[in-house]
């Protein structure tokens, strides 16, 4: 038996294992027709203990490769399960040495799993991204800021090295103006959408033209309402920004918890 305490991203093991896609209630889970990870793809099975269960498939010895095929398989299996019954999505790459270890983890964490399942039931994750059209926003910044407009004229008139430091100054002012704009706009959009969601998780560090990227946990019954609000947001933003929404997705972001397992075994 493999040592359970070995974090073991390391070398290949003697035996394969049980790759885990998600956890569900034993009474509700069914087999999933989607093919699992691996090549050839393994069938997805249900391993139960008490009132909870795991969706798993066999995997070869060694680390699971995070390639396109495997990530896609993980995504499809979780999505297919989520369409049929409440499921807690598991992060890519969790492999139990065997069903025995898996059942003991289910036993040890059964209460917590049931609690999380109850908390997330009937809710979906929506990922919203608001992305500036850089050119449109730069136009605004020049129009709104006299010093920027002035520096722009000067650096256009004095090309190359002669205006190097002025160009840096100009760029710095533009970057700061854009950061302020993003901040105000992100706060406004969040304030608009937050009341329609059960929970929100904005992403902190973003590419410079991205105003907002956030995951919203939304009641399925409010998905339409949320979508309508998003349409309004994008209408207001007009051609200066694009609003993208992905979902409804299984609530990965809101199932982002760590489970404990027995030490060592």
């Amino acid at each position: 038996m493999q040592a359970a305490s070995d974090p073991a991203t390391a070398g290949p093991r003697a035996n394969g294992g049980r790759y885990v896609y998600g956890f569900a209630r034993a009474a509700e889970a069914q087999g999933i027709a989607e093919e699992g990870i691996g090549d050839p793809a393994a069938a997805v099975e249900v391993v139960s203990h008490g009132r909870v269960c795991a969706l798993v498939s066999d995997t070869a010895p060694g680390p699971v490769t995070a390639d396109r095929r495997n990530i896609d398989a993980h995504s499809r299996v979780v999505q297919a399960a989520y369409a049929r019954f409440p499921v807690l999505p598991v992060r890519f790459g969790v492999v139990f040495p065997g069903d025995e270890d898996l059942r003991s983890a289910l036993e040890q964490n059964g209460v917590e799993l049931e609690r999380l399942l109850g908390e997330l039931e009937g809710r979906a994750e929506l990922r919203v991204t608001v992305h500036y059209d850089e050119e449109a926003v730069l136009q605004e910044i020049v129009a709104e800021n006299q010093e920027i407009a002035r520096l722009r004229e000067r650096t256009r008139a004095v090309p190359g090295d002669a205006s190097y430091f002025e160009r840096i100054r100009l760029g710095e002012l533009v970057a700061k103006a854009m950061a302020r704009k993003r901040e105000v706009e992100a706060a406004r959009i969040l304030a608009r959408l937050r009341p329609l969601a059960t929970a929100v998780q904005p992403q902190a560090e973003l590419p410079e033209a991205v105003v907002l990227r956030a995951s919203f946990l939304v009641e399925r019954s409010r998905l339409e309402e949320f979508g309508a609000a998003l349409e309004e947001v994008s209408l207001e933003l007009d051609a200066r920004a694009r609003v993208k929404v992905v979902g409804p997705l299984p609530p990965y972001t809101f199932a982002d918890v760590r489970l404990s397992v027995p030490e060592g075994v």
């Binding site: 974090p7 073991a8 991203t9 885990v20 680390p63 699971v64 490769t65 995070a66 390639d67 990530i71 896609d72 993980h74 995504s75 979780v78 999505q79 999505p89 598991v90 992060r91 890519f92 790459g93 139990f96 059209d133 050119e135 449109a136 020049v142 129009a143 722009r152 650096t155 008139a157 160009r167 840096i168 100009l170 760029g171 533009v174 970057a175 854009m178 704009k181 973003l206 590419p207 991205v210 349409e231 947001v233 994008s234 209408l235 207001e236 933003l237 007009d238 051609a239 694009r242 993208k244 929404v245 992905v246 409804p248 997705l249 990965y252 972001t253 918890v257 760590r258 489970l259 397992v261």
Partner: protein, 126 residues
């Protein structure tokens, strides 16, 4: 396959298929329930890790890029006044669509979406 919602020529809400791998790959690799002792994943040779590597970093390079970008703007082509953009409703926003806003936000996922390229503008009169 993506579906665009467009209304009255204003604003676009982009709704890609949630099953599209590019849309969820960072979610699946980075979020979800985890059991530390049993993580067994190899990220070797994976191109997807470059997603969102380009975060906001205040640097001379960034500043020079912005300076170049504002200098390229053709302000003469800009018709309506641009104040109070953050305001409300139909009155706000540039009336002219500056560039095709129909496309979705491009994730930096080589092989799935092409990296965004600078669009060359007509050189403005100096």
């Amino acid at each position: 396959m993506a579906v665009e919602t467009r209304r009255d020529g204003y604003g676009y809400l982009h709704r890609p298929q949630p099953s599209g791998l590019a849309e969820v790959v960072d979610l699946i690799l980075d979020k979800g329930l985890v059991i530390d002792a049993y993580i067994r994943v190899s990220l070797v040779g994976i191109e997807v890790l470059t997603i969102d590597a380009r975060i906001v970093v205040a640097s001379v390079d960034t500043y020079l890029r912005f300076a170049e970008a504002v200098n390229r703007l053709d302000l003469a082509a800009q018709g309506t006044d641009l104040t109070d953009m953050v305001g409300n409703g139909q009155e706000s926003g540039a009336k002219r669509k500056v560039k095709g806003a129909v496309e979705g936000v491009k994730e930096k996922l080589p092989g799935v979406g092409e990296p965004e390229e600078e669009k060359e503008k007509e050189p403005a009169q100096a």
